[in-house]
């Protein structure tokens, strides 16, 4: 994120702002009320309703003091409609902002009570929030410009000759490994979309062994994966493992004609 010298902004004005359904959008919408196609782009380009509002205010495209109430109501309904297609949470935040703007406008239309003027300006809270957000938006940009590890500065990596000094490796207890697994599964389960199956490990292990046995160039005989000495369970586990690998497209099974030997090879 670099800052530009004043003036370069005008050079950039002919650049398409974004592509909306393949069409370059060079003109910023004239008011807060964004054409629905552009909305998705807006939601991605801005960090939220405050960010968007700041942008529009800076562009002098919106006058907080004079918001057309009819348009805002129409837009409000469009948001509700769009929420069906968009990230609900994100859209809701823009929605809250739209209603806040509507409220400001409607309060300004009402005759003012005789109370002190400063406290009662309905815009004050919005302006305070915009200013506060602007301050931290700037702070984030300043931090982005700081020199940092991995990008601007690198740690030295000076070898320690192995023979003289044996740098110890961390010790790990089995219990730590189990706890790590439990924690990560517990966390993942909080999100409904991530479902960690409780498959029997023996199948997983067998899948790995099958993968180790084969490679992409060679064909391995199907029967090589079964060891009768393992008994019925062992054979079943091998079979399930092969089916599982097949399902994940990790292996291919080939047979030149009916009853011919079956071969397994890595998918390539």
């Amino acid at each position: 994120m670099q800052k530009l010298s004043p003036g370069s902004a005008s050079n950039q004005s002919e650049m398409p702002f974004a592509l909306v359904q393949g069409e370059p959008l060079t003109v910023i919408p004239q008011d807060l009320y964004i054409p629905p196609d552009a909305l998705l782009v807006f939601l991605e380009a801005f960090e939220g309703p405050l960010d968007l509002l700041l942008y529009l205010i800076k562009r002098q495209n919106i006058d907080i003091l004079n918001i057309p109430i009819a348009a805002i109501t129409r837009q409000y309904m469009e948001y509700i409609h769009l929420m069906e297609h968009l990230e609900l949470e994100l859209a809701a935040e823009y929605l809250v902002m739209a209603s806040m703007l509507a409220e400001i406008k409607s309060r300004m239309l009402l005759p003012r009570p005789i109370a002190s003027e400063d406290e009662d300006d309905p815009r004050a809270e919005l302006i305070r929030r915009l200013q506060e957000y602007e301050q931290f938006k700037q702070a984030a940009e300043d931090m982005e410009a700081l020199e940092r590890l991995e990008r601007d500065i690198y740690l030295t990596s000076i070898d320690i000759p192995r023979l003289e000094i044996d740098v110890p490796l961390p010790d790990v207890m089995l219990s730590e490994l189990m706890n790590a697994f439990r924690d990560v599964v517990n966390r993942a389960e909080q999100f409904a979309s991530h479902h960690v199956e409780r498959e029997p490990l023996s199948v997983r292990e067998r899948m790995v062994r099958v993968l180790e046995l084969i490679n992409a160039d060679d064909f391995t005989s199907f029967t090589d994966f079964f060891d009768p000495s393992e008994g019925r369970m062992g054979v079943v586990v091998s079979f399930i493992a092969i089916l599982e690998l097949l399902k994940e497209s990790l292996i291919e099974i080939v047979q030149s004609k009916p009853y011919a030997p079956i071969y397994v090879k890595a998918n390539s």
């Binding site: 931090m143 590890l149 500065i153």
Partner: protein, 193 residues
């Protein structure tokens, strides 16, 4: 300990350590030695070493948790060529969240959300915690007892800072009518996307 004997030892220690080393940590390493250096001697040797590296490719830099040898930013152009991998990039949402935690700590997630006007994703908080840049400082005694977040020494180390005081000064709150003339970078940023 003679400073000319101490200097190469410290140099070897800084070279070998993958974490910054503080004067106290260094001092502890010599405890029990017959010829044990004082903290002042260690400080002096560090000063001399800092001086020594002035014209080289790396420097002895003081960050929050101590001193470390690091490649000077001037040579970043060449050093990046050593690796194919690009440095990690962090989203604006993450940087804004981090900035709020850095400048407003202790702060709750709800307070961050109030200022940013959008919800803070769990991934952002987890990434910040996993990088060890942010940690829980306790809980706020309000309903729900939300976690209070603050930054760590590792955060300062990563951003090459000795203390929070070295963070860029927070911009003064500006009047809205001052916004317009200063508007500069938005176009480029959006166009680049």
């Amino acid at each position: 300990m003679d400073i000319d004997k101490l200097k190469p030892i410290l140099e070897a220690l800084f070279a070998a350590s993958d974490k910054p080393l503080s004067v106290n940590q260094l001092f502890e390493l010599f405890v029990g030695d017959i010829d044990q250096p004082s903290k002042d001697e260690i400080r002096k040797a560090i000063e001399d070493l800092t001086e020594k590296y002035q014209h080289g490719g790396f420097e002895l830099k003081q960050v929050a948790s101590g001193f470390r040898l690091q490649v000077k930013a001037d040579y970043e152009t060449w050093v990046t060529r050593l690796w194919e991998q690009k440095p990690p990039r962090y989203s604006r949402a993450l940087m804004e969240t981090l900035a709020l935690i850095a400048y407003r700590q202790p702060i709750t997630r709800g307070e961050i959300e109030d200022i940013r006007g959008v919800s803070v994703s769990t991934n952002i908080v987890r990434t910040l915690e996993e990088r060890d840049w942010v940690k829980s400082l306790g809980h706020k005694e309000v309903p729900g007892r939300p976690t209070l977040y603050g930054t760590t020494r590792e955060f300062l180390d990563y951003f090459n800072l000795k203390s929070l005081n070295e963070l860029p000064t927070l911009a003064e709150i500006r009047d809205l009518d001052q916004f317009n003339p200063e508007f500069t970078f938005e176009d480029k940023e959006v166009a680049a996307n």
